[in-house]
């Protein structure tokens, strides 16, 4: 028994090390100076750790970091609230054709987002909308509509008597949703917010296509940073710092909300 437990932990430690290693190297090299890297000391500890690479990375990506925040925060907020609302309606206020809407959302969930790229670009051009962060936010919110399925599934286990009680108490649709349904959706909300934030923050293609240079999200800007170095001398330390900078918010979200995440994932599975 003891032996088996030790073995399991040893194995887990090995995997943890395996997955943490690249991150570790990135962090190490981001703290080295350009001169130190040119000597080829990739695997060594930084001799004199310094933040010049981070400063350079922030100078290059700071603006796009803010762009990404300006993009992700409204998209995540709007799309999860909208998803909760739609999920509630789909699940509890069945209307004529609601099954078809459900199937439509399901299909949309499985289609790769790249399929929409060209039609979307043409539509925007025809509508006369220029590339901007606002347009990108709208696009993401619209394409996140299938998130409603998460909430719909959660609300399947939601007792109808509770809604009936609230209606008898005089609650209209919005009071029902805002005072009863939404506060009881926390576990799914955490899951959806994490998934959605990660997706939107890491999204590259739409971010590249539907924005101008000054409104680029960080993923697109990071790719450009990598591209500019090609052919010449590459500032690996700056690139490492930049990549870490781009990954930090999602890391932070997982670290902060990770516990709720696993709890939320199983929340629908076992009725508590």
């Amino acid at each position: 028994m003891m032996l088996r437990r030790t073995l399991i932990y040893a194995l887990l430690a090995l995997f943890a090390l395996y997955f943490a290693l690249p991150l570790g190297f990135m962090l190490m090299n981001s703290l080295k100076s350009a001169a130190e890297l040119r000597e080829g000391a990739f695997l060594a500890w930084p001799r004199a750790p310094e933040l010049s690479a981070w400063r350079a990375a922030w100078d290059a990506l700071g603006g796009s970091f803010l762009n990404s925040l300006l993009l992700a925060v409204p998209v995540v907020t709007l799309s999860s609230l909208l998803a909760a609302l739609n999920g509630f309606i789909l699940c509890k206020l069945r209307f004529r054709g609601s099954e078809w809407v459900f199937i439509g959302l399901l299909v949309a969930l499985f289609l790769p987002i790249k399929v929409y790229l060209l039609p979307l670009a043409i539509s925007l051009a025809k509508l006369g909308l220029s590339k901007s962060l606002g347009v990108l936010i709208a696009i993401h919110v619209i394409y996140s509509l299938p998130l409603a399925l998460f909430f719909r599934n959660h609300y399947l286990g939601f007792p109808d008597e509770l809604l009936r009680a609230a209606r008898m108490d005089g609650a209209g649709f919005w009071a029902l949703f805002l005072r009863i349904v939404l506060p009881l959706s926390k576990p799914v909300f955490v899951v959806v917010v994490i998934l959605q934030f990660t997706t939107i923050w890491n999204e590259y293609l739409f971010g590249l296509v539907f924005t101008e240079a000054e409104s680029r999200p960080i993923t697109a800007a990071l790719a450009q940073l990598g591209a500019t170095g090609e052919g010449g001398v590459r500032d690996y330390n700056v690139e490492m710092a930049a990549a870490l900078l781009a990954a930090l918010p999602t890391l932070a979200v997982y670290l902060i909300a990770g516990k709720h995440f696993t709890r939320g994932l199983v929340a629908g599975a076992v009725k508590g």
């Binding site: 008597e161 009936r164 008898m168 005089g170």
Partner: protein, 367 residues
Amino acid sequence: MTGLAVKNLSKGFGSLAVLKNVELEIAEGEFLILVGPSGCGKSTLLSLIAGLERPDAGEIHIGDRREEHLSPQERDIAMVFQSYALYPNMTVAQNLGFGLEMRKVPRAEREATVARVAEMLQLTPLLGRRPGQLSGGQRQRVAMGRALARQPKVFLFDEPLSNLDAKLRVEMRAEIKLLHQRLKTTAVYVTHDQVEAMTLGHKIAVMKDGEIQQFGTPDEIYQRPANLFVAGFMGAPAINILRARIVLEEGRPGLRLAQEGSRLHLPLSNGRLAAWAGREVLLGLRPEHIVNARGEAPPEGGLRFRAPVELVEPTGADTYVVASLDGQRLNCRVQPSCPVRAGEALWLDLLPHEPSLFDPSTGLRLG
């Protein structure tokens, strides 16, 4: 004044008719019980009164207002649910005050009402807790309190005690009755428990298959059941149903029960039954009308007979004896002091009363 009236109400789901032409009327302040087996439509009727469902046809009057077209919010009704349906995200105080808040009652008044209701139901120390931290009985009280706080025209109860253990159920039943005596608000109470029905109701509607089988006072329902179903549904232990024949003796109708060899004859006071002379009927006898023989002779108008005992069930206050009468089982209530053993014969007295007789083909009450 009318408290609640239901006229010709019908409701179906798909091709299934759940309620068929239901008619009910109670005066203001009366306590109406809807009782019946699962699937009889009693909960659907309650939902229609609440406005949670819309009827296919018919009218619902609350007070002097016609309300079947109104939404639940527009009706002045509060409901206690079987699952209590407390808002898990709110404290007890918020649960109690939610209905008032939704109806835009000013904060000060709301708080005063919540405090008063909490006091009435002994919930004051629990006001800051959430439903998850309460016991079943406490949750039940909060559910009641939420309805009380609203001071509605009509209270609806949907099997409110069915999730409580036996002892607590009896306590809460008494409490509901006391509250109603104090508040005198019209109430409709759905249950499948016939004891709750008998103890709480001014009026009882016994339902089956979406139809009202009988609507009357508890006494009428119990003493003069309108048909075999009502007779069998109300009363525990259940009523005995025996085959018997109506005969004419000196021009007066009587009831003949065959018993191996001898024939038992029970005079009937209802002269109209003479029309049934010579025909077989079903006789309903409540266990409390068949007791162990006391004294020299059976009471005037009663009947004494001897029957073998199959089973003895002492309950403490009473002992129930299952005797056999021509192969038909007869549940009787005897004194606990009566020496009786299974397998032995026992002298029994059928007490004089107006027996319930039913038409064997329709199941309807005769006379």
